[in-house]
């Protein structure tokens, strides 16, 4: 089965790639591992006129140790290479865990870190064949003006299922976006928007080139719940970080994923455990506030009530894991 018509260009030079993206703008789409882009092309959710392949762009595939003890990872690095990388496992175990949580070995052998960070949002209505979708009017994601999941919604509510950004957010990682004219730095925490169609701040002429993680000595953890353990998108995933030792902490951060269009950085629960420590009582109190911060949940892929309950369970497990690490 051939892919929909488009032209393919490949380049082994970053400069040339940025020129191509600048020239083609909206008409172009970057393909690295292909596991997300080609999947979406099959469903006709992505219809690029030009596919710009960066698979052979070697300068984006390295992991570089920085003088300050941090790491700079090329966005084109394969997930398999990163999950086995000794320094990543050593310095950022939660990040390594979030990489291993992505899909299957087969997919990770192809997929890249940049691809997972830019992973397209998913919806149980639109993520079907074009024929299947014909049964209903076009929704926001397919150039219509309605959301079939929540009729009253004024925007697309598709879910962001990426796992690695959660760990990157708690680690305080920063993304480098480059276009032909220059580059800018965007913290991962500010990379996502709440619009399911246009869910990142990356512009069409920009390429995500590097992920920079600062040195972190705090305790971190990453947990994922999915319908199937071996290979599935998350029902809920959580990344958390704290300083101190045992129940003694002063700063805790908790990020939930696969709940909504952007990762949810929990505010009040994190504040409660930051002030009161990681004792059983403080954790129980913090969990009471998790549901309030999940926003308008949809029934996408699993019931909203189940998702909310599991979010609470995963946050509890994460906080206990932090306490015991």
């Amino acid at each position: 089965m051939l892919l929909p018509d488009h032209s393919y260009v490949t380049t082994d030079s970053l400069k040339e790639c940025l020129r191509l993206l600048g020239e083609n703008g909206d008409r172009a789409m970057v393909v690295a591992g292909g596991t997300d882009v080609i999947f979406n092309m099959r469903l006709k959710l992505f219809n690029p006129e030009v596919a710009v392949s960066i698979r052979k762009l070697e300068e984006l595939q390295h992991v570089e140790e920085l003088d300050d003890g941090g790491l700079r990872i090329g966005a084109g690095a394969r997930l398999t290479d990163l999950e086995e990388h000794a320094t990543i496992n050593d310095r950022y175990p939660a990040f390594a865990e979030s990489i291993r949580a992505v899909a299957s070995t087969h997919i990770r052998n192809m997929a890249t870190l940049g691809g997972n960070i830019c992973l397209h949002t998913r919806c149980s209505y639109t993520n079907n064949s074009e024929e299947w979708r014909k049964g209903l009017k076009n929704c926001y994601k397919t150039d219509g003006n309605i959301c079939h999941v929540i009729r009253s919604s004024s925007k697309c509510l598709a879910i962001n299922n990426a796992d690695t950004p959660l760990a990157l957010i708690v680690l305080g990682a920063v993304l480098t976006l480059q276009n032909a004219d220059g580059s800018r730095e965007v913290p991962v925490a500010e990379f996502y928007t709440d619009d399911g169609m246009d869910h990142t701040v990356r512009q069409p002429d920009e390429l995500l080139t590097y992920v920079t993680i600062p040195p972190v000595t705090d305790r971190t953890t990453f947990l994922k719940l999915a319908p199937r353990k071996g290979m599935d998108f998350s029902t809920v995933a959580v990344a958390a970080r704290c300083d101190g030792a045992g129940t003694d902490v002063s700063t805790v951060s908790i990020v939930l994923g696969s709940i909504s269009t952007n990762p949810i950085i929990l505010d009040k629960p994190a504040r409660i455990v930051s002030q009161k420590g990681l004792g059983d009582e403080a954790i129980a109190e913090a969990l009471n506030h998790v549901r309030n911060e999940l926003g308008n949940l949809t029934n996408l892929f699993s019931r909203a009530s189940y998702k909310k309950q599991m979010a609470v369970v995963l946050v509890r497990r994460a906080l206990i894991a932090l306490r015991e690490s």
Binding site: Y8, G33, T35, A51, S53, K56, T80, A103, M110, G230
Partner: protein, 169 residues
């Protein structure tokens, strides 16, 4: 659709191919090189029957990658496991343990199994599970497949032993 020349080494044979922009690696393996062992399943990366091995011996899915991305690279398909008329140890193990029912997924399962033993000659339960997670068998399940993978090492060693004895005699 624009067409381009590319070079692809499949099972040790190098082909100069004319490939169009919208062909996947699977399209080229099946329709241009005409090796039909690699199967076309979901074509969206969920079922794993299109699994082949890349030059490093890792399992990758040929249905969700542009063929032109593989210009100059070397791949192994199910047809490439047999050497000099003799089946690979992993294939022998699959036969011995009946790790096949309808057979449709078998090329994908065997290439995934091959990738596991390439990386871990004596894989643990966890490594086998992780390596098989991306490939689905809908009739017989993974129990016999896992049994076959566990026996691959023994069969490979027996083969080596036999070859050594044959030369010393």
């Amino acid at each position: 659709m624009a067409k381009h020349m590319m070079t692809l080494t499949v099972n040790g044979d190098t082909y100069d191919l004319v490939v169009s922009d919208n062909q996947t690696l699977l399209d080229v393996i099946r329709d241009t090189v005409r090796l039909r062992g690699t199967k076309r399943g979901c074509t969206t990366g969920a079922c794993g029957v299109c699994c082949i091995n890349n030059a490093k011996g890792e399992a990758v899915l040929s249905c969700i990658t542009h063929a032109l991305d593989w210009d100059g690279e070397s791949i192994t398909t199910i047809e490439g496991l047999e050497a000099n008329g003799e089946l690979d140890a992993i294939q022998k193990a699959f036969i011995e343990f009946g790790a096949v029912q309808c057979g449709f997924c078998t090329p994908g399962v065997i290439m995934s199994a091959k990738a596991i033993v390439n990386k871990y000659p004596q894989p643990t339960e966890e490594q086998i599970n992780a390596g098989l997670a991306g490939v689905l068998c809908r009739c017989t399940g993974h129990v016999k497949v896992k049994e076959a993978i566990r026996q691959d090492y023994r069969i490979r060693e027996a083969g080596r032993e036999a070859a050594k004895n044959a030369t010393s005699n």
